[in-house]
Symmetry: C2
Subunit: 332 residues, 2 copies
């Protein structure tokens, strides 16, 4: 996305926020997100309570951004502020609000696996943007931060998508109706909808996971898919968990991407037998997720799937939570 | 659709209704419907107050169905009960409920143009099914009639679709989430959403209008389309007419089918300039429709478009109504 495009997406000039004195600091958490949500490829996503990333940001006496520390990344992320998605998106924001005078030191604490399909880069970027917004006392609507977060996404995975950053930023369930112009709709959801996530520790890079998706599809499959997304959205508004479950079928993307995930269909069978409402790939994978009607079912599913992966000699992480409606939050 | 399939679609056996004495009669109206609704090809439809078709059904003393009269069809519809969609679907219903003992005489009064893209055959079929249900005192849920109505659709246009018959039968806005198994969802809508319909009197047969649609499409276009259908469904639930309008864009079907409609893009421009929320093709055309926020705007649009068509030496009909939530009704 070109910078002038970025300006279009944030058409109302951000008011120059005056906060941020030397020594001020803030500690922010931003949540992991599940994009696509099975039938909503590239347009749907939701946030969870855990995992998530944390940013500690301090105002320094020297203009410019330094990244003093990154933890939890096994040394995979760049400390060069020109190459890290957090500092790059914060820098774009500072330019937009006319506050390049400020100096910032950033610590990024990755609390979730990279390349997991859980919106790892989005969580970091949103944490950084929420931190600088908080430090400067910028009261603008969080939607104003979305174009800067998308800039970070473009850098992280070659594709300026919003289906992870938007739910990370707003919390809850989010529809990206359109990219040009950007049109984002917050969707309701049943309060008792639980999400069980399992990350099998295998490598599925986002770029490659996109490249294997077919560019040409059959109209009849597309009709099936949009019947299902319309059903899923209806189920969210109607608080009808069974309709949500019936609608979460993907005839286009899952058949291809599931090949990159160990025993995907076996894991789905296990989850459904244990009472899952639905089961699918989170984002581009390899993480998988199930919706359930209660916490106990969600925990039974993560336990069973992790045992199965252990049997395949594949390490894994798991997370259980309801949908996170808060988005990023200040920890201190 | 095979008959055994029909049984699957109506899995609960219909209770044998005992009504229908010789001489009983009923006069029923069933509404026209707008299918596809721009971005919801094959899965969305809604009913309007006018036009619609009427059926007068009388119980006779001789088992079997006769079609004694059809008006308003310019002689285009068959009086042979084995070839008319109304009698065929009623016959399937009678077989299903075990009432082939009954004798029926049917009059069909077409009050809307055939081949208009307004669900003409669906309105007739639903009127017939609602009439027999009423005569027999069958209190089953109207959804039990849907498979029989779809049987009529298959006969009328070679395709057992539900996006006209379902809204004609239930009224309101209807989503066909899935055909196998059949899963129908009633959607809410803003009360003040008005619909302006113009039927340009040119010939666009449904079969041919289906055949010109591309069988293979690009994934990126499908993503645009399902972002829009998700936006439209959200707008209906949120009573957000502007979101409804922004979402009603069709990058897949309209570009092809619009070629069969005289001055389609010119008419759209006129409608939008007069304040339409959205504009598109009704079903497979040639009828076009606009959503508006009030009756006056709807009437201004039909007047302007009809004037334009007159200038092209094309006759037309127009209809203005809110969305019909009642579905079929007994007139007497």
């Amino acid at each position: 996305m070109e910078d002038n495009k970025l300006q279009e997406l944030a058409p109302t000039p951000l008011a120059p926020p005056s906060g941020g004195r030397e020594g001020d600091s803030v500690h922010v958490f931003a949540p992991a997100t599940v994009a696509n949500v099975v039938c909503g490829f590239d347009v749907l996503g939701f946030a969870v309570d855990e995992p998530g990333d944390e940013v500690i940001m301090r105002v320094t006496n020297k203009p410019g951004i330094t990244l003093s520390k990154i933890t939890g990344d096994d040394g995979r992320l760049p400390l060069d502020p020109a190459k890290n998605t957090v500092s790059v998106s914060v820098q774009h924001y500072l330019q937009s609000v006319g506050r390049t005078d400020i100096g910032l030191d950033i610590e990024l604490h990755k609390k979730m696996p990279i390349g997991s399909g859980l919106g790892s880069s989005s969580a970091s970027t949103v944490a950084g943007l929420f931190a600088i917004k908080t430090l400067l006392g910028d009261n603008a609507d969080p939607i104003k931060l979305l174009p800067f977060a998308m800039k970070g996404e473009e850098m992280a995975c070659g594709h300026g998508h919003a289906d992870n950053v938007a739910p990370a930023l707003f919390g809850g369930f989010v529809l990206i109706r359109s990219y040009e112009p950007l049109d984002v709709v917050r969707l309701p959801h049943p309060k008792d909808l639980w999400c069980a996530i399992v990350f099998p520790d295998v490598d599925v890079p986002t770029r490659e996971a996109r490249q294997i998706i077919r560019k040409n599809i059959q109209m009849k499959d597309a009709v099936t898919q949009w019947g299902n997304i319309a059903g899923l959205v209806s189920g969210l508004f109607m608080q009808d968990i069974d309709l949500i479950g019936r609608s979460m079928k993907d005839v286009l993307v899952e058949p291809v991407r599931s090949m990159l995930i160990p025993d995907f269909y076996k894991m789905r069978e296990m989850a459904m037998e244990l009472g899952a409402v639905s089961f699918g790939i989170s984002g581009s994978g390899p993480s998988v997720f199930a919706f359930t009607k209660d916490e106990a079912t969600a925990r039974a599913i993560t336990q069973k799937l992790q045992q199965h992966l252990t049997g395949l000699k594949i390490g894994s992480n798991s997370y259980v939570s309801t949908i996170n409606d808060a988005g990023p939050k200040v920890l201190g």
